[in-house]
């Protein structure tokens, strides 16, 4: 069943230079505004049990689209058809009253979402438990940290079990542990055949949670499809834009070909990234002190490419644990490669030293100097099977007892 269907959606904002222009336009019927097209010609549909990710740079229209879906904005043109109850988390804690306790706010927020009180009485404990706010729930929410705010808001919105959940940047505030819990909750959500529309700057979460993704650019759909693909192309675009920004300004632009040139600038691409055991089996979890094999397949897009490669174990998108770079290593072949060449970069880690935790592997491609990173790619999450002992790391060691 189609839960959300959007057809030819347009949203314009009227921009008035001065507030009195709005009034004089109403009275005198003379046009005083300029129109800003926030969204134009957006069409998509989301089926039951599916999730949609919306990505794009700041100001691309993501939040406007979510507000239209949530119903707090009215479209200028086109149709939005929504079947089922929607809960929108556009701004976490939007309905909270700072002077009241968390518990009171649960009831207030739930009534905003349209959940009857008797259901909330049943769910109250679950909400408190999920938000991990047991000690703070009877204190005014103005004393909460932003993370606590988000946790409470997220717990309420998802506990209410709507048919469609619309979330804007929900995960960016919580800590990693809570992010993980949220992802789990959202996955449960999808398993229950609910529908989700999700907007984030965390590409990892979009890939992980969404089946399809829409890349919005200047209010239009630039690409729609399989989330892995769309996210990949979007990351390409962002990377090339970031790195070559000053250069691309110098290059004389041909009319109408601006986006084309931005993409062509990329010299190479990571096709795949995998984590394997020495026997060549793909791994989901790691054993401490075992050997691990990291591989990425690289495709060269320009003639005579020379570059550097890197891998890193990451705790989160910003927190590396260990890194491996080829910049100081001369024994390996780093080019030049021919256009269209496909090769595999692999790295064997001996005696994997972490003992607990979850990690991602990050693969990266850089230019000859090792300063410009063309592309980075995350693997899926890897879990370390802890062995007996304490402490975060383990070392390869040998015992001996000598009597004498």
């Amino acid at each position: 069943m189609t839960r959300v269907s959007v057809k030819n959606l347009h949203k314009d904002f009227k921009i008035y230079e001065r507030p009195q222009d709005r009034l004089s336009e109403l009275i005198l019927r003379r046009q005083k505004h300029t129109v800003f097209h926030a969204l134009s010609d957006i069409s998509f549909a989301v089926q039951e049990g599916k999730s949609l990710g919306i990505i794009g740079v700041n100001g691309a229209g993501k939040s406007t689209l979510l507000k239209l879906l949530a119903g707090t904005l009215q479209p200028t043109g086109g149709d939005i058809e929504i079947r089922g109850q929607v809960a929108a988390l556009l701004e976490l804690g939007a309905g909270f009253h700072p002077e009241f306790t968390g518990r009171k706010n649960i009831y207030l927020n739930a009534s905003l979402l349209g959940v009857p009180d008797k259901n909330i009485i049943e769910l109250e404990n679950d909400i408190i438990e999920f938000s991990e706010l047991e000690y703070f729930i009877d204190r005014p929410v103005k004393t909460y940290s932003s993370g606590m705010y988000v946790r409470l808001a997220f717990s309420i919105a998802t506990m209410a079990r709507p048919d469609i959940l619309v979330i804007d940047e929900a995960l960016s505030v919580g800590d990693l542990a809570f992010q993980k819990k949220c992802v789990q909750r959202m996955n449960e959500f999808i398993d229950e055949q609910k529908t989700m529309v999700f907007c984030s700057h965390s590409m990892f979460h979009v890939q992980e949670l969404c089946d399809t993704a829409i890349w919005l650019d200047k209010g239009q759909i630039k690409e729609m499809g399989d989330s892995d693909k769309v996210v990949g192309h979007y990351e390409d675009f962002c990377n090339s834009k970031k790195v070559y920004h000053s250069i691309s300004e110098d290059i004389p632009k041909e009319e109408g070909a601006s986006t084309e040139t931005e993409i062509k600038i990329q010299d190479c691409r990571i096709n795949s990234l995998s984590v394997k055991s020495p026997e060549g089996k793909e791994l989901d979890s790691l054993t401490p002190l075992a050997d691990v094999h990291l591989e990425m397949e690289v495709e060269v897009l320009v003639e005579g490419f020379e570059g550097n490669f890197g891998f890193a174990f990451m705790k989160s998108a910003e927190e590396p644990v260990a890194s491996f770079l080829t910049t100081d290593i001369d024994q390996i072949h780093k080019g030049p490669f021919k256009k269209g060449d496909i090769f595999t970069v692999s790295l064997t880690i001996k005696n994997f030293a972490m003992r607990v935790g979850d990690f991602y592997v990050l693969g990266g491609l850089a230019d000859k100097t090792g300063l410009l990173w063309y592309e980075t790619k995350f693997s899926k999450s890897l879990h370390v099977e802890p062995n007996k002992g304490v402490g975060p790391i383990i070392m390869n060691s040998e015992w001996s007892i000598n009597q004498g």
């Binding site: 556009l90 309905g95 207030l108």
Partner: protein, 268 residues
Amino acid sequence: MFFTLLRQWVITPVENYRLFHHFTRQDFVAQFAASIGGFLWLFVTPIAHIVIYAFVFGYIFQLRALPEFGQTEFVIFMMIGYLPWFAFAEAVGKSPGLLLEKAGLITKVLFPVQVIPVVGTVVPYLTHVIGFCLLLVYLAMQGYFNLLWLWLPVIFFLQFLFTLGLVAMLSALCVFLRDLQQIVSLLVTIWFFLTPIIYPITLIQSEGARELFLFNPMHSFVNLYREIILIGEFPLVNFQIILPVAFITYLIGGWLFVRIKHAFGDVL
């Protein structure tokens, strides 16, 4: 179309009773949350105002209640007009800020926005009906009670509807015209002095000028309260004015609000 909008307006507090209830309780309690005086502050302001006006008009200007009202003390005469006025003035005075304060909520959460003016009117009325009832109990003990008092809830409710219509209109318009915030507080003050609350209407000499006061619905409300409570008479002409005025204001205000509420998201 016209009737669907009106229906939306009229049945909102019933249909969304839970939300209405939570909002009202929240706003009511929030008035004195985190203050030491708490609930007491609700009475301090009107009492202080009454004392000031009683001092200025009763003592300095030597205004006495008139024989028409059975030689009642000036303070009592004034309070009967002032307490219901205070509920009206507070609701109308705050109305331009109602939606602006909740801008975050309105743009981020989908809910029936029309409960906001209802809550914004109910809260001051709830607050001041307490003071008004205390005054009535006191007067009943003084032997003023008569059967016409049974009309008081009806008139008070009509005043509530009249206020609600104005609040809905002003709160919605203020989204587009922020200047209303300043204008409204000024108008409320002017309106106060144009309503015979702290002075008896008989002070106005010219018969024709007194007739003009009939255009001020608040005068009719105040006069109804006074004549019913103090001398047990029912000024029919005032009732004939407020009955249609209250309903028409309520319906037009609500209709306007529901009509333009979809545009709030664009402007807030």
